[in-house]
């Protein structure tokens, strides 16, 4: 006899958690000791930081005044938007992923209960990510001197519940407004925008050109010193809850839980109807071809056919587009700063921006190259074809680099207009960074599912780190070259070259590596 009645919320929650755990373990399968070691290293580093913080803050009492209230409220808002970005994406995906949803909705269990548990799963997933980062940092302080700071975990839980509720409401609102065909794409793009929102807001002054750099914290401090900061009492709720004051913490938790329960229970029936409506509605393309499409000749040969296929798949992947969009959004302030500096003819001041462009080119190229090279949905089809594997790899790399080249056109054109040499160096640095990321992805392919892109689930641990390192080195070289210190640029360039050489693998090694997976 089971202690938890089958069909109850707890029983369903247990089922969800079991699936979540097994998916997590399946996702980590094959990473072995290296993956575990990297997790332990990061954990120890965070815990070390936490211990240092505990030592430094042992005697410190956080004062409740306008600056601390505003900073805590701002931090809570940032965490909320980051969580919302994830819950919106997860809520919209939940509508389209059939999985066991059909089974659950076909059972006598009410749809409200199913949605409630699924939403709890979304909130649980989000809070776990943040708790994994916060716990080692905060725990030493909680144990040594500040037990009240455990309230931070309560605040995280509350934010996860409320962001899940808002994510769910937004997904359902999009569904009602624009229908099942477009909801998935729009929700993914919206999630990216929400995720980047705080960064963009914090860079408003840079974007608008009022001031070249000024952090929000500096702005808050300045306003407080001028006596112009008067946060409302409700704004003090996050800080008081984080410090463990029972009433604010309970208020925040009760409010979040109430919002969550309201959204999940009230939307249950609508959600099941919406999920049913998405079946067979994901393809937005009309059956009728345009005249130019009908007249278009087929691509000739394996190279062109593969490039075209990969570009079509990239263009039609909403999750992938939203991730690339997110990176481009992070580039906007840099690009604007770059163009203003260029207008002022400030050569050395462009160096940082040029480096960022090169770094981002490497990173975006790395993501796209992983998608085109490793996340192949029909590997057997390629394997049974007579096309040479090298031709296919080159085509896939080309397909990954074409979108990168397109998104580099604008910043490089602006640079070239004002300072041709800066434009040329940036183009060269960005091209090298993108190409290097592509090569690393060829040498260290790790077949994965396209759906795993968001977390680069299948990507090689070493490839990801190496990509970042080489991109950073080439970004440094680009920055130095743009600053007029090009002989010094040879140092990071040489290091990047040496790193690439150490990572290089021959065809036989790549094939052997793929076979052993």
């Amino acid at each position: 006899m089971t202690l938890i009645a089958p069909g109850s919320i707890l029983w369903l929650l247990g089922h969800e958690m079991r699936l979540y755990w097994r998916n997590f373990r399946a996702g980590r399968a094959g990473r072995g000791a290296r993956g575990l070691i990297s997790l332990i290293v990061v954990g120890v580093m965070l815990f070390g930081g936490g211990v240092l913080a505990a030592l430094g803050l042992h005697e410190v009492e956080v004062p409740i005044h306008p600056i601390s209230i505003s900073v805590a409220a701002l931090a809570a808002a940032v965490v909320f938007t980051l969580m919302l970005s994830q819950t919106l994406s997860a809520s919209s995906e939940a509508l389209y992923e059939r999985g066991d949803l059909d089974l659950l909705f076909a059972s006598p269990i009410g749809p409200a209960k199913v949605l409630f548990v699924r939403s709890l799963g979304v909130a649980g997933g989000v809070v776990t990510i943040f708790a994994l980062i916060v716990t080692p940092l905060l725990l030493p302080s909680v144990i040594w001197g500040h037990p009240g700071w455990a309230g931070v975990f309560g605040v995280l839980g509350g934010l996860a519940l409320s962001s899940t509720a808002v994510g769910l409401l937004l997904a359902m609102a999009l569904f009602a407004l624009i229908g099942p065909r477009r909801t998935r794409t729009v929700a993914q793009v919206m999630a990216a925008l929400v995720g980047a929102a705080f960064f963009l807001v914090s860079q408003t002054r840079t974007i608008l050109g009022e001031q070249k750099s000024s952090s929000l914290f500096a702005e808050i401090t300045r306003q407080a010193q001028e006596g112009r900061l008067h946060p409302s009492p409700i704004m003090s709720l996050p800080l008081r809850a984080m410090l463990g004051e029972p009433l604010p913490l309970l208020t925040l938790l009760a409010g979040s839980a109430g919002l969550f329960a309201l959204a999940a229970l009230a939307l249950g029936r609508r959600f099941s109807d919406a999920a049913a409506a998405t079946q067979g509605k994901t393809a937005a393309r009309p059956a009728k071809a345009t005249r130019s499409e009908a007249r278009r000749a087929f691509s000739a040969g394996p190279f062109l056919a593969t490039v075209r296929k990969e570009l079509l798949l990239i263009r039609r992947d909403a999750a992938l587009l939203s991730q690339v969009l997110l990176r481009v959004l992070y580039l906007i302030p840099t690009a604007l700063l770059l163009s203003r500096n260029a207008a002022e003819g400030a050569g050395p001041a462009l160096a940082g921006g040029a480096g960022v462009v090169a770094f981002l080119a490497g990173q975006v190229a790395g993501s796209l190259a992983w998608i085109t090279l490793s996340a192949e949905d029909a590997p057997d089809l390629l394997a049974v074809s007579p096309a040479r594997i090298r031709t296919l790899r080159r085509a896939k790399l080309a397909a990954a680099l074409i979108p990168v080249a397109l998104f580099l056109v604008a910043p490089i054109a602006v640079l070239t207009w004002f300072l041709p040499s800066a434009g040329a160096w940036t183009a060269l640095g960005a091209a090298l960074a993108a190409w290097s990321s592509g090569l690393i992805n060829i040498w260290h392919q790790r077949p994965g599912k396209r759906a795993d892109f968001k977390r680069r689930g299948g990507a090689s641990w070493m490839a990801t780190i190496a990509e970042m390192l080489v991109s950073a080195l080439l970004a440094g070289a680009t920055g130095l070259a743009v600053a007029g210190l090009w002989p010094w640029a040879l140092v990071p360039l040489g290091l990047a070259g040496a790193t690439l050489l150490s990572l290089r693998r021959g065809d036989a090694q790549i094939a052997r590596n793929l076979r052993t997976r």
Binding site: A297, A300, L381, V384
Partner: protein
């Protein structure tokens, strides 16, 4: 008689032997059905012929080409369609066929005409420009079959081609395969629907435990099973020949 496929001494072991010392001959222009219980080694055999799985030992010759020594040449005249359709959800059937034709280096004009013809024959013309993501399993199977035929292969290898097809679609596919054989093409297929093998196959191979137990026309198999000519069905013969070998685990 020209041989489309000659397999000699084929061996493959994963955690346990999947195929053992297998000999197989398929004549050009015939439809050969490879039958066997689950885990008999049918799919492993066909994957080795298609160049997807490397044999531990043995020889594979496709229309006289040594498939292990010259894989590209062998692949150029072969097509493989597994039971799980190898299609891209976010491509339309026409885009998929364009890609597959590109892989086999089919001249673009010919490929386009062939693609339109195949989609029409498989009743997919109306969905030619609709993404495959919402297609039923049967529709995806048809798209994959069109992909297998786009380069007009001399040897067509099909693993459970009728899985997921409704009666009308199954009839359509069977007619297409028959047409192909009538026109001189060679088809090897595996199926669990024994009536299909009984009705369509020129010769049948029965495999179990990684070994070929019997091979020949239905009448020849009846003789091997000790049944009278025309007396028993393929199902009777199959069950008699594979008795005791039905619980394998490797496909």
């Amino acid at each position: 008689m020209t041989e489309a496929l000659i397999v000699r001494g084929l061996d493959k072991t994963f955690t346990k032997p999947a195929v053992m010392d297998l000999d197989l001959t398929v004549h050009a222009g015939e439809l050969y059905a490879l039958l066997g219980p689950n885990g008999a080694g049918k799919t492993t055999t066909l994957r080795m012929v298609a160049g997807l799985t490397k044999p531990d030992k043995g020889e594979i010759s496709i229309f006289g080409i040594d498939a292990r020594a010259e894989p590209a040449a062998a692949k150029a005249i072969t097509a493989w369609a597994p039971d799980e359709a190898m299609v891209y959800d976010r491509l339309t059937p026409l885009e998929y066929l364009e890609f597959v034709a590109g892989l086999w280096n089919v001249e673009p004009k010919t490929a386009k005409a062939r693609a339109e013809d195949l989609l029409s024959k498989l009743s997919l013309a109306a969905e030619a420009r609709t993404r495959c993501e919402d297609f039923s399993r049967g529709m995806k199977q048809k798209v994959a079959l069109a992909g297998a035929l786009i380069h007009d292969p001399r040897l067509l290898i099909l693993d459970e081609p009728l899985t997921g097809l409704d009666a009308a679609a199954a009839r359509l596919v069977k007619d297409m395969l028959q047409e192909r054989v009538d026109a001189g093409g060679t088809v090897i297929l595996t199926t669990h629907i024994l009536e299909v093998a009984e009705r369509m196959a020129d010769r049948i191979g029965i495999i179990a435990g990684g070994r070929l137990l019997a091979e020949g026309t239905l009448d020849a198999l009846r003789s091997q099973a000790g049944e009278g000519k025309g007396g028993s069905t393929l199902e009777d013969v199959f069950l008699q020949l594979t008795a005791g070998d039905a619980n394998g685990t490797t496909a």
